[in-house]
């Protein structure tokens, strides 16, 4: 059993109004040194696989086909056992 920790983020070229709003919120709290905030998604996918390589291949495909939209998003993930 493996667990994939998947991070989906907006491409740098895509404006992130949520991130801008969060940045303003942080500034109003006094965190005046905040340069930028980008809001993304975090997903945990538990899966059964023969070995780590097969799990990697599967998660890669999941990211490409559904978890992210390549037009607007980038993804990366970590794979942990158990």
């Amino acid at each position: 059993m493996y667990k994939a920790l998947v991070y989906v983020t907006l491409k740098p070229s895509i404006l992130d109004p949520q991130g801008t709003a969060v940045k303003k919120g942080l500034e109003s709290l006094g965190f005046s040194d905040v340069m930028d905030v980008r809001v993304g998604k975090y997903l945990e996918v538990s899966l059964e696989a023969e070995d780590k390589q097969e799990a990697l291949t599967q998660v890669e495909e999941m990211c490409k086909k559904l978890l992210s939209n390549p037009v607007i998003e980038d993804y990366c993930f970590e794979l942990v056992e158990g």
Binding site: L10, L15, P17, A21, L67, V71, I72
Partner: protein
């Protein structure tokens, strides 16, 4: 002419589209459930209505593209059949790869429900031939994620191929940045695929298709489809 209105869990403009096709246009229409594996009749046009299919989970339209009927919709579109995606339908079409680009959160993060002015940038499509080139029409929008984005190369291609069909404008037809309430690239409100048979638009023409509603300019999207189909080019065959 026979229209199919696809119903996803969370669609909420399906009845409006059905009503316009059947009652206003006097054409045949069927609701088609998203779980259907095949079309039970032959259709001339498929409508993907607005709403919040699958609760907009993950990304708008991202789960709907895997509905069984979408395989048939994609096949129909590939064969040249007319497909109209309105609002969530537009989002589904981009997720399904039938239209380029994507739709993201409105720039001010607000759900915007209001009348907008659209400039008809291309009236030589099956969906706009009953409009005049450059005509300005008033059509309501209702979306939180309607900012159209695509990369530079795609935008250039859209422009070069006249694939930008509707742009947000002033009542006088100026496509100024002030009219771009949701932050779309180049004020884009609706685009068509390269082949010219799949149209996606965020505004709702089905909500302004009768004079009793105070405005019936949206009706011509539907009359255009019928006019075009009557021109002898039956699709999906």
């Amino acid at each position: 002419m026979k229209f199919a209105v696809i119903v996803f869990p969370g669609s909420n403009c399906d009845a409006d589209c059905f009503h316009v096709v059947k009652e206003v246009m006097g054409q045949e229409a069927d609701y088609v459930w998203h779980q259907d594996q095949t079309f039970k009749a032959q259709y001339d046009c498929i409508v993907l209505p607005g709403g919040f299919s699958y609760g907009d989970y993950l990304r708008t339209g991202s789960i709907a593209k895997f509905s069984p009927i979408m395989i048939e919709v994609i096949k129909f579109a590939t064969q040249g059949g007319l497909v109209l995606g309105i609002c969530n339908g537009f989002q589904i079409l981009t997720e399904a790869g039938l239209l380029p680009g994507a739709l993201v959160r409105n720039k001010d993060l607000k759900f915007v429900c209001k009348d907008t002015f659209l400039k008809v940038e291309n009236n030589e499509t099956p969906f706009t031939l009953d409009y005049t080139q450059g005509q300005v029409i008033q059509v309501p929008v209702a979306h939180g994620e309607g900012a159209y984005v695509c990369d530079e190369a795609t935008l250039e291609k859209l422009k070069a191929n006249k694939q930008i069909v509707f742009r947000y404008s002033t009542s006088g037809g100026e496509t100024s940045p002030e009219c771009n309430f949701n932050g779309s690239s180049d004020n884009i409100a609706g685009i068509i695929n390269e082949k010219g048979n799949v149209l996606g638009m965020m505004p709702h023409p089905e909500r302004c298709a009768e004079t009793v509603l105070g405005n019936d300019l949206g009706k011509h999207v539907f009359t255009s489809i019928v006019s075009w189909l009557k021109g002898g080019r039956r699709n999906g065959e």
